[in-house]
C-alpha cells in the first residue's frame, strides 16, 4: 500500500514540475559535456555535493543563521510596529494625514540608497542591515494594514460598542481581527522583501551571512559555492512562504473568501 502511494506522489510531482526537471537535466548534461566552462556553470551534482560539504565542514549553518537572525528581527520589528501603526492611521485622521503622504512618497524611493547612511550610523555589523530590513518591510505592512483597517464596517464597531466595548478596546478587539487578511497580505510582501534585502545588503557590505558567502565565493571563483548560497536562500524563501500560507489558512479559516490552495502567485 505504502509503496503505491509513494509512487503516485512521485508521479504527481514529476508531472507538475516536468519543465523544471527537464531544465535541471539539461543543465547537468551541458555542464558535464564541457560545452560551457564548468567554472561558469557547475553541474548540478557538484553543487549538491558542495552543499553537503559546506553544511558539515564549512560554515553554511553559521552564515545562514546570521542572515536569518537579521532578517527575522527586522521583519518582526516591522510587523510589531507596522500593524498597530497601520490600524491607528486608519482610525485617526490626524495621524493619517501626516503619515500617508510620507508613505506614498517613500514608496518609490529605492531604499537601498539609505544603506550607506545606515552604515555611517551603525557600522557594518547587524544593526545597519536590521534597520534597512525594518524600513523596507514596514512599508508594505503598514500600507496593507492601513488599507484593510480603513474599510472596517462601521456597523461592526457600533455593535461592539452597544455591547459595552470601550472605544480604545474596539481597535484591538474588532478592527484588528477584521484587518487580519490584509495584514497577512502585507506580511507576505514584507517576507519577500526582507529576504531580498538581507541578501543584497550582505552582498554589498558584510563579513558574514549568506550574501557574504556568495560574494566571497565569487572572488575566488568557487561557483559551486555561489550556487549553494543561492540555493539556500531560495530554499528558505520557499520554506517560509509555505509555512506562511499554512499559517494563513489556519488563521483565516473563518474568512468567506478563503484562499484554499497554495499559490505561487
Amino acid at each position: 500500500m505504502k509503496k503505491k502511494n509513494i509512487f503516485l506522489t512521485f508521479k504527481k510531482i514529476l508531472s507538475r514540475y516536468y519543465s523544471v526537471f527537464l531544465i535541471l537535466l539539461f543543465w547537468e548534461m551541458v555542464s558535464r559535456s564541457g560545452l560551457i566552462n564548468p567554472i561558469l556553470l557547475p553541474p548540478v551534482s557538484k553543487i549538491v555535493i558542495r552543499f553537503f560539504e559546506l553544511l558539515v565542514f564549512g560554515k553554511l549553518l553559521y552564515h545562514t543563521g546570521q542572515s536569518m537572525f537579521r532578517m527575522w528581527i527586522g521583519l518582526g520589528l516591522a510587523t510589531l510596529v507596522g500593524v498597530p501603526l497601520g490600524i491607528l492611521m486608519a482610525r485617526s485622521s490626524m495621524l493619517r494625514s501626516f503619515l500617508e503622504p510620507l508613505l506614498g512618497l517613500g514608496f518609490p524611493i529605492p531604499k537601498i540608497g539609505i544603506y550607506p547612511v545606515l552604515i555611517i550610523f551603525f557600522g557594518v555589523l547587524h544593526s545597519s542591515k536590521i534597520v534597512l530590513i525594518f524600513i523596507e518591510a514596514a512599508f508594505p505592512i503598514i500600507m496593507a494594514t492601513f488599507n484593510g483597517a480603513l474599510f472596517v464596517e462601521q456597523k461592526m464597531i457600533w455593535t461592539a460598542e452597544s455591547m459595552g466595548t470601550k472605544k480604545q478596546k474596539v481597535l484591538w478587539k474588532i478592527v484588528l481581527p477584521l484587518t487580519l487578511p490584509h495584514v497577512f497580505m502585507g506580511f507576505r510582501i514584507g517576507l519577500i522583501v526582507s529576504l531580498i534585502v538581507v541578501f543584497l545588503s550582505e552582498m554589498i557590505a558584510s563579513a558574514e551571512g549568506l550574501g557574504h558567502l556568495m560574494m566571497s565565493s565569487s572572488r575566488v571563483f568557487r561557483s559551486a559555492d555561489m550556487f549553494v548560497a543561492i540555493g539556500m536562500i531560495s530554499f528558505l524563501g520557499l520554506l517560509f512562504d509555505r509555512i506562511f500560507l499554512w499559517l494563513r489558512r489556519r488563521a483565516l479559516r473563518w474568512h468567506p473568501e478563503a484562499i484554499s490552495h497554495e499559490e505561487g502567485f
Binding site: 461592526m156 457600533w158 461592539a160 460598542e161 452597544s162 455591547m163 459595552g164 466595548t165
Partner: protein
C-alpha cells in the same frame, strides 16, 4: 411605564463636496412604553434609521435628547442593543463566541456565561450550530445569531434596523414569527424600523408613520389585533385589512409628497 423618551430630536449634517446642509430629522417626539413592540415605517431615506442610530448613541443629535428609564443617554451602551440588517456578526468568531462576546464584558464565572449563551441558543433555535462560523450560515440563521447575541446582553431596549431586509421573502415571513415567539418569552421593549407595512402590522403594538425628509412622526397608529397573532387567521380580519390599507395610503402620500 415609559421606557424610552425621544425629545425634540433633530439632526442636520453636511453632505457632499459642497458641504450642503441636509436636514435628516426635524423635532421628533416619541414615547415608548415598557414591553411594547413599536415599529416605525416610512418612505425610503426619510431618516428612520438615522433616528435609530441616534437612540443607539452612535451618532449625536443636533438637538434634543434621548431618555431611557428617565436618564439621558449620549453614547452607545449595553442598555440599548442593536440588530442590523447586515447582521454585523463577527466573522472570526463562531456562533457561540459571537453570543458570548457581550457576556464577556460582564463580570461572571465562565460557566455562568456559557449557560446564559446556551439559553439564548436554545431560544433562537440555534442548537447544534454553536461551533459554526458565520460564513457557514444562511441569512436567517445569521439573523438569529444577531438577535441571540443582543438579547444575551439583556438590554433595556432592543433596536432593530430592518433586520429582515436582506432575507428572501419566505425566510422573512418565517423569521417574523420566530421573532414574535422569542419576544414573547422575554417581552423586551422593541423599536423596530421597517419598510414593510405588513411586517409592521403583524409584529407591533403601535406603528409610527414617518414623514419624508426632514423626518418627523406624522401619526401613530394602535394595532389592536389581539395576540398571539396567527397569520392565517389574522389576514382575514377586517381590522387587519383596514390598518394595512390606511398605512399604505399614508406612506404613499408621504413618498409622493417628497417628489
Amino acid at each position: 411605564m415609559t421606557k424610552l423618551v425621544v425629545q425634540k430630536v433633530s439632526k442636520t449634517y453636511k453632505s457632499g463636496k459642497e458641504g450642503k446642509e441636509v436636514e435628516a430629522l426635524e423635532g421628533v417626539d416619541l414615547e415608548i412604553k415598557e414591553g411594547e413592540f413599536f415599529s416605525i415605517i416610512g418612505p425610503s431615506g426619510c431618516g428612520k434609521s438615522t433616528l435609530l442610530y441616534i437612540i443607539g448613541g452612535f451618532i449625536p443629535p443636533s438637538n434634543g435628547a434621548i431618555l431611557v428609564n428617565g436618564k439621558g443617554v449620549t453614547s452607545p451602551g449595553i442598555d440599548r442593543g442593536i440588530v442590523f440588517q447586515e447582521f454585523a456578526l463577527f466573522p472570526w468568531k463562531t456562533v457561540i463566541q459571537n453570543i458570548l462576546y457581550g457576556l464577556e464584558q460582564r463580570k461572571m464565572v465562565k460557566n455562568e456565561r456559557v449557560k446564559i449563551a446556551e439559553k439564548y441558543i436554545e431560544m433562537t433555535g440555534l442548537r447544534g450550530m454553536e461551533n459554526l462560523y458565520p460564513k457557514e450560515l444562511s441569512g436567517g440563521m445569521k439573523q438569529r445569531v444577531a438577535i441571540a447575541r443582543t438579547l444575551a446582553c439583556d438590554p433595556e431596549i432592543l433596536l432593530m434596523d430592518e433586520p429582515f431586509g436582506s432575507l428572501d421573502a419566505q425566510t422573512r415571513v418565517f423569521m417574523q414569527d420566530e421573532l414574535l415567539r422569542i419576544w414573547d418569552e422575554t417581552r423586551k421593549t422593541v423599536l423596530f424600523v421597517t419598510h414593510s407595512i405588513e411586517e409592521a402590522v403583524h409584529l407591533s403594538d403601535r406603528v409610527a408613520i414617518f414623514s419624508h425628509r426632514p423626518g418627523k412622526i406624522k401619526e401613530i397608529l394602535l394595532i389592536d389585533i389581539p395576540r398571539p397573532r396567527i397569520r392565517e387567521e389574522e389576514v382575514s380580519r377586517s381590522q387587519y385589512i383596514k390598518l394595512i390599507n390606511y398605512l399604505w395610503k399614508a406612506v404613499e402620500r408621504e413618498a409622493k409628497g417628497f417628489f
